[in-house]
């Protein structure tokens, strides 16, 4: 499918950057004239993906997080969030609602939110090499 526009972003895995990352992606999304709820969905999904990188990917200090966002034909928006961190040993388990290794204050809902707030999600991960989460949302339909 034809790419109409694209942006790339890289930043350190510091929690203060969570707001920056979802803000930057939603600013880029504005060209598709999203509804309030579509904008909130993307913002929330990106926030979850970036938080996962910050909480889990780099347990010893911080590393880089890379975001690519693309506008495709038919008002399709694709955003991928990548890290070069520790990787996920069991993706199926990690995606189960309420599963978390993040301690008592984490709800274990990150992937459930990403799944529910976008149309498609793909997770690929290699232990020791990193993880990429790619989410697609169609903005042509009013849910």
């Amino acid at each position: 499918m034809k790419v109409l526009n694209e942006m790339k972003l890289s930043f350190l895995s510091k929690s203060v950057n969570e707001g920056f990352a979802r803000g930057a992606v939603s600013a880029f999304l504005m060209q598709l004239d999203p509804t309030v709820s579509q904008l909130a969905d993307i913002k929330t999904a990106v926030s979850e993906a970036v938080t996962n990188c910050i909480v889990h990917a780099y347990p010893e200090g911080s590393g880089m997080i890379y975001i690519t966002a693309k506008v495709l034909e038919d008002k399709r928006f694709v955003v991928s969030v990548r890290d070069r961190g520790c990787g996920i040993p069991d993706i199926k388990q990690a995606m189960e609602p309420l599963f978390t290794t993040g301690g008592e204050e984490r709800a274990g809902l990150g992937f459930a939110v990403m799944q529910s707030f976008t149309d498609k999600i793909k997770v690929s991960s290699t232990p020791g090499k990193g993880t990429t989460v790619t989410m697609t949302k169609r903005l042509d339909s009013d849910e």
Partner: protein, 113 residues
């Protein structure tokens, strides 16, 4: 500050403001827990009316405070979550704890039933 408080007759209300994510939830948690441990309220109310964004960190924040209040023998109520933020609340299933309340609406009562 992203949390302000009022305390009256054993009821502590925490007014959360702005965006709740993993970053901001940390300082909110510290302030709420600090006030709860100092004042030992019988009821802790988390007021979300001035929250403009939240991700699942807010759900973690609510669940953690729910456990804290159980420990110190009090109750918790979560009030006024703005309509555009309710989707994540519904997804989380925390309505089953019976703590949600929407001012002037019957919705909170139904969810706690």
């Amino acid at each position: 500050m992203n949390v302000s408080f009022s305390f009256y007759r054993g009821e502590l209300t925490a007014y959360l403001k702005g965006e709740i994510d993993h970053h901001t939830a940390r300082s909110m948690r510290q302030r709420i827990d600090g006030e709860s441990e100092r004042l030992h309220p019988t009821l802790l109310i988390l007021d979300f009316s001035q929250v403009i964004f939240m991700d699942s960190s807010a759900i973690g924040l609510i669940m953690g405070r729910y456990r804290l209040m159980q420990l110190i023998g009090g109750y918790i109520r979560v009030s006024n979550i703005p309509p555009h933020l309710r989707r994540i609340v519904e997804l989380s299933g925390i309505g089953a704890l019976g703590v949600l309340e929407y001012k002037g609406k019957e919705k909170g009562k139904n969810e706690s039933a």
